[in-house]
Amino acid sequence: MSIIEFKNVTFRYDSDEEGVVLAPAVKDFSLSINEGEFMAILGHNGSGKSTLAKLANGLLLPESGTVLVDGMDTKNEDDDIKIKQTVGVVFQNPDNQIVATIVEEDVAFGPENLGIEPAEIRRRVDESLKIVGMYKYKNHEPHKLSGGQKQRVAIAGIIAMEPRCIILDEPTAMLDPEGRRDVMKAIKRLNRELGITVVFITHYMEEACEADRIVVMDDSRLLLDGTPKEVFADTDKFRSIGLDVPQTCILAKMLKNDGINLKNDLLSIDELVENIDDLLKGQ
């Protein structure tokens, strides 16, 4: 069952001050995101991947084509709240998503807007903060937290609405390695333990490797779609559009070009080391 479906979607931003019509940010794009999936969307800046996030919950509406969220057309205003509750979006800059001056009050913001009963909000807030590992900071002021902590609070704020799908638009781009690790851990939990569909937009390929499925955007279109191993196998195509490939893939590819009989789908360090070890031992 697909939770979000893009059908031949085209979108362009309003023309600039001089009235020059801009090129579409998303062009004739079709994609079906399955319930329970952990999907990564890769692409360089300006490839249209962030626009996808905003199209997916009706923040932006397509110029042509349709976006269906759990069967509801995002163009249908009556379903607007339902759609936004089904598909939550977390953005890049954690500072600009936190509304309240106390962590737990911020997490309560979504459910409050939905008109949930106070006792139920309390339960959801506590649970969401526990999932992202920020429960002990519930009475803290957000501006005193680190970037990674703030981003986890922002994620908790979305979880508290109990969405079926969460889209994260480059949530780690502004974080340091430690913050990135913690946020990744929280995101993986959402999918693996809570079964929430996760769409993770990023340009860090090592993070994309964690997903079940990778969609690569280039020039406003869908370029590749497959498992990490399938997608990264085509290292040349990947690098030609300005994206990184895991160093293991590049190294394996170089050795294979020399006729060394490595496997085709090596992604992690351990896999590569094992394979090299096997080859050498085989001698």
Binding site: K84, F91, N96, V99, E105, M161
Partner: protein
């Protein structure tokens, strides 16, 4: 460190006063202000002082901290006192030399005014000392919710207040960062005459303005994604509920107003000469 600035000067202690419903505290503060203005004699004022002393005591906030709140208005107190002493001409003449004439009436009026202003300030700072900004805006929101029927949407006002409180520290940090960056390119913010200094602020304010617009835009998106629709049908996690404490406080308020009215009638409008004679 700039990050440690506390906004709204809230002191998070666990006291009876802290636990009161913010609406009770708001109402109490308003009633107290009215009462202080109603009080027209020293006895009534003394009554008010006793009450504020009780509130401070119950709040567990050190008296020294409370008194610090008076510092910014010290100058106003001094000026009004001087004016009262100079212009009020009643009661016993104490000094009458050259052009200076000081009367007992002047001194007493000055003392009365000083006490009055101090009481007003102390009790309003007590409100912010014992109520977190969020709970205060929450209280305001609920208190003025009925105004919606009159077409006044107070929710928007409290939402703006909340967001402002949330973003003040973020913006302070940003100002700090932009200033450092421009200083690194040789800008100086503390040299030259007024014109020059004003001009030196352009490299600070333009980026700050642009960044704030960007932030506002992103925040609006994030709020929309979290189903914000102007507060329609919104519930609150920490629902405000009147408890016994709150009803007790309302009783105290009633007694306060009643008491002051009675005292005003009983003691009459304060008469400088009479009071002075009593004191001497």
């Amino acid at each position: 460190m700039i990050k440690d600035i506390t906004i709204g000067q809230y002191f998070p202690f666990n006291s009876v006063i802290h636990r009161l419903d913010p609406r009770t505290k708001l109402l109490f503060t308003i009633v107290f202000i009215v009462t202080v203005f109603l009080a027209n004699n020293f006895v009534s004022l003394f009554f008010c002082m006793l009450l504020s002393a009780a509130v401070i005591g119950l709040s567990k906030i050190p008296v020294k901290t409370v008194m610090k709140g008076l510092k910014p208005i010290l100058l106003i107190i001094v000026i009004t006192s001087i004016l009262q002493i100079a212009y009020v001409d009643s009661g016993i003449v104490l000094v009458d030399e050259w052009k200076i004439k000081i009367t007992s009436g002047g001194i007493l009026t000055a003392v009365f005014m000083t006490l009055r202003i101090s009481l007003l300030i102390v009790m309003s700072t007590m409100l912010t000392y014992t109520t977190s900004p969020t709970s205060l805006t929450n209280g305001l929101d609920r208190m003025f919710a009925p105004l919606k029927k009159l077409g006044i949407d107070f929710h928007t006002v409290t939402m703006i207040m909340t967001i402002a409180l949330r973003f003040i520290p973020t913006l302070i940090e940003e100002v700090d960062k932009i200033m450092s960056a421009q200083k690194s390119r040789g800008a100086s913010f503390d040299q030259g005459n007024l014109m020059k200094r004003a001009k030196a602020l352009i490299p600070l304010f333009i980026p700050l303005l642009f960044n704030s617009i960007r932030r506002a835009y992103e925040l609006a998106n994030a709020m929309t994604c979290r189903c914000y629709n102007g507060g329609k049908g919104k519930t609150t996690m920490n629902a405000l509920k009147f408890s016994l404490r709150d009803y007790m406080s309302i009783l105290v308020m009633a007694f306060l107003i009643g008491g002051i009215i009675v005292l005003n009638i009983f003691c009459g409008e304060y008469n400088a000469e009479f009071t002075f004679n009593l004191a001497v």
